[in-house]
């Protein structure tokens, strides 16, 4: 079990790190897909079957598509003016800030005694129970999430739509 977890971690972290570092946006987006699939596998490993499939459905099926479309819709052609290249400085600063966060987090995790029974078998939660919980105690949250998604959808459409009102309708 631990071995599987370590392998998964390597897959997830490796693909994420490479995706962040690559210059080719399409490749990095596809690597992100791999990373997300790995996270879904982690959920499966942890026994959260429903969440794993939801993760695949939403991230691999939907978010990745949106990302790829966005990449294609924002192709940057040949730059006329040279970009001020401050990426190295920024990278160093980001590394320092991120590294310190990582250090603090690691310190916190390793410094906290966690005496949980790791030998316990993976818990299961059937979809029926999950549904009962969603529609029962968490119904309000579910409704709010529904509203949020609707608003996000409409907002995305409004933001991304081209405003053609100032152009003649049928310019040949």
């Amino acid at each position: 079990m631990t071995l599987a977890l370590i392998l998964l971690s390597v897959l997830i972290l490796g693909s994420a790190a490479v995706a962040i570092a690559l210059r080719n946006l399409i490749h990095s987006a596809l690597l992100f897909v791999g990373c997300w699939a790995g996270i879904a596998a982690f959920y499966l490993w942890a026994g959260a079957e429903f969440v794993a499939f939801a993760q695949v459905l939403i991230y691999v099926g939907a978010v990745s598509m949106v990302v790829l479309f966005a990449v294609l819709l924002t192709r940057q052609g040949n730059e006329l003016e040279p970009v001020k290249d401050d990426s190295f400085n920024r990278f160093i600063r980001a590394l320092i800030a991120g590294g310190s966060v990582a250090g603090v987090l690691l310190g916190a995790i390793l410094g906290t005694p966690m005496d949980v029974n790791t030998a316990s078998p993976a818990p299961t939660m059937t979809v029926r129970e999950l549904g009962a919980r969603l529609m029962g105690p968490h119904a309000a949250a579910l409704l709010i999430v529904g509203v949020l998604l609707t608003v996000a959808l409409l907002g995305a459409v409004v933001l991304a739509a081209v405003d053609r009102s100032d152009q003649p309708e049928d310019a040949p």
């Binding site: 600063r93 980001a94 800030a97 966060v101 250090g103 603090v104 987090l105 310190g107 916190a108 410094g111």
Partner: protein, 671 residues
């Protein structure tokens, strides 16, 4: 198979659904709207028959189903359905007549552009009427009562593009409202004094003995009337308005501006009978004061005299009218007067019997008139008709049956038996015999004007182009006529050889055989009426439309006054109308000068205080705030330099802030 009272709502709900369908389908959905209306009516008829069957199993029982509508304070406003023979008979009659009239309308309204609306309104009317009948609560009855009024308004004004129709609709609505105001006051008073509006509620209803005793026990201080008399008279106001009783009868003849099926259904057979039904329904309340001898006025006495006056008055005016529908309308007024008379003299069963028979033969007469009008291209003036008997044989035959039933031609026709019952009851009334004499006079007049109508319309030769080209209508219009005519005859069986119906309605009523002498007298009177009518109009038919009426030449003043309907409309315009406009101008004056002045004064004061306020504000208070906000603005400008627009930088700061916080917690928190 028995029908529980708790399911009575089905009867009004069926036409209500049809009305909804009629309202929702597009204008072109003629077949759907009319089909739904007729189907629902026929279904309601069968359900009503079932209900009648159930009710007759135990005629004395008042099976009621009550439920709470909404909560009021500690109690609840309760409504309910009531199933007894009265309700059941009325339901059967209304649904049967309505079905036939709906079918007749298919033919009559065929060319109308608003065909589907017509059926929508008709269904709405039927739903309200049936709701009125099955109600076990005076409140529910009142609601349906008003809905019936609304449907009547819509249908009278159905051809609203005709100014006369629109005016007639308005007149009908407003006139009946006057009566309804009394009804409403009586209703509220009743609720106030009894705390219930349910008719039957297991001993607590307003028509049950305990409540009635309590009501008659109380007496009004001012005039000595018992409470029950006062309430009864107020409720009777509603009946006067709806049933076209004197002095509120003026709207009913004008209501003939509506399409003829509407006149037949609403203003002859069903709605106008609602007033009679109402009094019959609350009859225990109306008659509660009969047990007391020392009261100044019995409610039923008023009813009897009003009925007698109306019966005579309507018959008189009908003699001098020329419009075929108007004659029938005044005849309706007169017959409703008869029913009220019967109620007043204590025989509500006779009133209901006459109501039922009258519904059939008056619907028959109106539909016959509609058939004539339809055939004669909407010519309604009897002086311009004539000679139709040969051209429209079925209409003629059925119309003649209706006429004979209305006139009270003996033995074979239902009208004879019902009228006989009323006269008999009037004869036995021991307060006064004046109503009997009025009734007998009306018998002669009724026979006379109906004979005149027949003679002018169907005999002689045609006196105008329109009537010359008339021809019999299609089966969709004649079949209802034939069915109604059959009913007009067969309904005799309800009273003869034994008064079966009256037994069913009121098993406790003692029935005595009618006096032979009275029967002979009325037969003679009918013969006199028909004979004189035939002598004046029948033997020598009118030659042209302009030729003078024989009676008019004989007594021009009287006939002119009658033709002008004795000037009731003008009288009302001069009194009530004048008073109303006086009040209106007074209200206008008050509004303009007294209230308006006060409001203007207040406004001026408000403006003044506003000016004072602003001056203090700007000069004294604001200075301090201005300097503070200057400083705030300066600080904001300084802070805004931190907003570099560099999102990466923000993120870095957040991350470092997180690290610092974590370190603080980890290092500081452990100590």
């Amino acid at each position: 198979m028995y029908f529980p009272a708790s399911h009575l709502w089905i009867i009004p709900a069926l036409p209500l659904v049809a009305a909804a369908i009629g309202a929702l389908v597009p204008r072109s959905g003629r077949a759907l709207a009319s089909g739904a209306a007729i189907a629902s009516m026929v279904a309601a008829f069968f359900v009503s028959c079932l209900a009648l069957h159930t009710a007759l199993a135990d005629p004395a029982a008042h099976a009621a189903h009550n439920f709470a509508w909404f909560d009021v304070g500690s109690g609840a406003m309760r409504l309910g359905w009531l199933l007894d023979p009265l309700t059941a008979f009325m339901c059967v009659m209304v649904t049967f007549v309505s079905s036939l009239i709906f079918i007749f309308s298919l033919g009559y309204m065929k060319e109308d552009a608003n065909f589907k609306q017509f059926f929508c309104f008709l269904s709405l009317f039927a739903a309200a009427m049936l709701g009125l009948l099955v109600a076990n609560s005076l409140l529910l009855l009142f609601i349906c009562w008003e809905l019936v009024g609304l449907a009547s308004y819509l249908l009278i004004g159905f051809w609203f593009h005709k100014p006369s129709a629109a005016a007639a609709a308005k007149k009908a609505f407003i006139t009946t409202r006057i009566g309804d105001l009394g009804f409403l006051i009586g209703l509220l008073w009743l609720y106030d004094s009894t705390g219930s509006l349910l008719f039957f509620d297991g001993g607590h209803g307003v028509l049950e003995a305990a409540t009635l005793t309590a009501l008659t026990g109380k007496t009004l201080v001012c005039c000595g009337l018992t409470v029950s008399t006062a309430i009864g008279l107020l409720i009777f106001c509603g009946a006067v308005g709806k049933s076209g009783q004197f002095p509120l009868h003026v709207w009913l003849p004008d209501a003939m501006e509506g399409p003829t099926p509407v006149s037949a259904l609403i203003h002859a057979a069903t709605m106008v009978a609602a007033g009679v039904f109402l009094i019959a329904r609350v009859y225990p309340l109306m008659s509660a004061d009969q047990v007391l001898a020392n009261v100044p006025l019995h409610a039923l006495t008023v009813v009897a005299f009003i009925g007698a006056i109306t019966a005579l008055l309507g018959a008189c005016i009908a003699v001098a009218q020329n419009d075929i529908k108007r004659i029938l309308a005044f005849s309706t007024v007169s017959q409703l007067g008869y029913m009220m008379l019967a109620l007043g003299v204590g025989s509500w069963t006779a009133a209901i019997f006459h109501l039922l028979t009258h519904a059939f033969f008056k619907a028959l007469l109106f539909l016959g008139a509609g058939s004539v009008i339809h055939a004669a291209h909407h010519e309604q003036d009897i002086r311009r008709l004539g000679g139709l008997g040969a051209k429209m044989k079925i209409t003629f035959a059925t119309f003649a049956i209706g006429m004979m039933a209305l006139s009270g031609v003996p033995f074979l026709f239902s009208g004879f038996w019902s009228k006989e019952g009323i006269l008999h009851a009037a004869h036995e009334w021991d307060v006064s015999h004046l109503p009997l004499y009025a009734g007998l006079a009306a018998v002669v007049l009724t026979a006379f004007y109906m004979t005149r109508l027949m003679a002018e319309t169907f005999f002689g030769k045609s006196r105008s182009h329109e009537s010359g080209h008339a021809h019999e209508n299609s089966a969709v219009m004649t079949v209802p006529l034939v069915l109604l005519a059959a009913c007009a005859i067969l309904l005799s069986l309800l009273a003869w050889p034994s008064p079966w119906l009256q037994h069913q309605l009121d098993p406790s009523a003692h029935s005595e055989p009618g006096g032979i002498s009275l029967m002979v007298l009325s037969i003679v009177l009918v013969a006199v009426g028909i004979g004189s009518g035939w002598a004046i109009y029948g033997r020598k038919p009118r030659a042209t439309e302009a030729s003078p009426d024989p009676l008019e030449t004989a007594a021009p003043d009287i006939i002119a006054a009658l033709a002008a309907r004795l000037g009731f409309d003008e009288l009302y315009a001069a009194t009530v109308g004048r008073l109303n406009s006086g009040f209106a101008s007074l209200a206008d004056f008050m509004e303009r000068w007294i209230w308006g002045g006060a409001v203007t004064l207040l406004a001026r004061f408000g403006e003044f205080t506003g000016v004072v306020n602003r001056e203090t504000d700007e000069n004294t208070l604001n200075g301090g705030f201005d300097s503070v906000s200057h400083q705030i603005r300066g600080t904001g400008r300084a802070y805004s330099r931190a907003q570099t627009g560099d999102a990466h930088g923000y993120m870095r700061f957040i991350a470092l802030g997180f690290v610092v916080l974590m370190l603080f917690v980890m290092l500081g928190g452990s100590r």
